[in-house]
């Protein structure tokens, strides 16, 4: 059930490791999470150049199994679930009937009729309830597994080599997953990430998470906080739920039409199809500030629109961001002006991603 009362902040199994390493710890989506260790810029560049590790154990997991698991997920998820091979991964959104986005999710197919879906921490309870309420009539079990996994994202051009050195067999290719032992600990290894770099995400028994963390540190990975996770994902224009889309936005205006397959008849498909056909008044666009200054979430864009994510890009060394702008003014090359706390900052809309990475 959705939690209604304020509860105490939760700690991941790696909290003591973060504290001992001198991380700056902040509340995030109900959890005490490391925002940075030595500095966002250093951690960001470690991921772009070598390998960084993020504790993302706050993220939730929902397991769906049973004979009708594929047809149930096809009903609630926007992408074509039938196209996920066994041991495959797929990105999709969870939509309301009116196409409002409830969450964006990765779903892993563990067996023909067994799936694991990773949720955003702040949305987990709502996603779970939404899925369970719509499971009536399907021969399926929708199970909360959020307490059963710690999650580590190992990302960077050297990430695979580093993890492979601790593994008992080959790592899954990009957009695939498999059971593996890493540092002697059995886990689900997934060829996915949120940085634009190659790498893997590890879903592991919380009781064994410190063993894996210590092995990764011992092998030379840089611990990275949520601060660098945000700058990395924004350079490659990955969406952040709650910033770049929420239930008031549909996948078409959010630029997520590519993961919506209306022919599957998923919940919200009709509304998505209508938005796709008619176009939307606004579109999410990526921009680079042309001179000095850093736009932030909530800054108005002149002529209509608003910044939904804004930061300083350590790789481009200037202000970057994403925001909704009128669709007729969303083309790359369009000049815009952003009101940054009273100072007008010129910016230009650019093609996504803003920072092209070499991998994956």
């Amino acid at each position: 059930m959705p939690s209604t009362a304020e509860t105490a902040l939760r700690r991941t199994p790696l909290y003591e490791r973060h504290a001992a390493a001198g991380a700056k710890i902040v509340p995030f989506a109900g959890w005490e999470m490391p925002v940075q260790y030595t500095g966002i810029r250093d951690e960001h560049l470690a991921v772009r150049r070598h390998v960084g590790v993020f504790d993302v154990s706050h993220m939730g997991e929902v397991q769906t199994c049973g004979p009708e698991a594929p047809s149930f997920l096809q009903h609630v998820l926007s992408n074509d679930v039938r196209r996920i091979p066994k041991g495959g991964a797929q990105y999709s959104v969870l939509c309301r009937e009116d196409a409002g986005i409830l969450d964006d999710l990765f779903t892993y197919r563990l067996a023909d009729c067994e799936f694991l879906t990773v949720t955003n921490a702040a949305n987990h309870e709502r996603d779970l309830a939404w899925m369970q309420e719509r499971a009536d009539g399907f021969d399926v079990d929708v199970v909360d597994r959020a307490g059963d996994f710690a999650m580590l994202a190992v990302q960077g051009p050297a990430a695979r080599e580093l993890v492979a050195g601790l593994a008992d067999g080959p790592l899954p290719p990009r957009m695939h997953c498999c059971e593996r032992e890493i540092a002697g600990v059995a886990m689900l290894v997934c060829g996915t990430g949120y940085t634009g770099e190659d790498g893997v995400e590890l879903l592991v028994d919380p009781a064994r998470a410190t063993t894996v963390w210590d092995a990764l540190m011992g092998a030379g990975a840089t611990p990275c906080g949520l601060g660098a996770r945000d700058t990395l994902r924004l350079e490659v224009c990955f969406h952040l739920y709650g910033n770049d889309m929420d239930e008031r936005r549909n996948p078409i205006e959010a630029g997520l039409g590519w993961c919506c397959k209306e022919e599957t008849g998923f919940l919200g498909a009709e509304a998505v199809a209508a938005a796709r056909a008619a176009g939307t008044p606004e579109k999410l666009a990526a921009f680079v500030i042309e001179g000095p200054g850093i736009a932030r979430q909530g800054n108005p864009i002149k002529g209509g629109g608003v910044v939904t994510s804004g930061t300083f890009s350590p790789c481009l060394e200037r202000g970057i961001g994403m925001g909704y702008v009128p669709s007729e003014g969303a083309a790359p090359g369009t000049q815009i002006e952003i009101d940054v706390r009273g100072t007008v900052r010129p910016a230009v809309i650019e093609r996504k991603p803003l920072y092209p990475t070499k991998g994956p």
Binding site: G227, G293, R296
Partner: protein, 128 residues
Amino acid sequence: MTDASYPDDLLYHPEHDWARVEDGVATFGITWYAQEALGEVVFFEPPTVGTAVTKDEPYTEVESVKAVSDVIAPLSGEIVEVNSALADKPETINDEPYSEGWLVKVKLSDPDETSSLLDATAYQATLA
């Protein structure tokens, strides 16, 4: 980053600013605690020379990767000089918060205001 330090020859404002007063002109900056809390400063656009500043009111902003923060004036007066070198090297605010990382110099309009500021010991007590 440097280790925590709070020089004895400065006056401190509880909003984590310092002032060095000489002949009616004060140099302003942010404290070690402030730069540590902020993280790496990546952007500082100095205010305009000639602008009036008012004690306890924001007079400029410093930005880290993650956030923008107002900087509070520890004393009142008129800006007579700004540290324009910070535009190219804003990280100096982290590296040398009390020397090369100064922000502005202000001709004081009411030098008696200094009596309300804290010494290094009293300021550090507010951080405990």
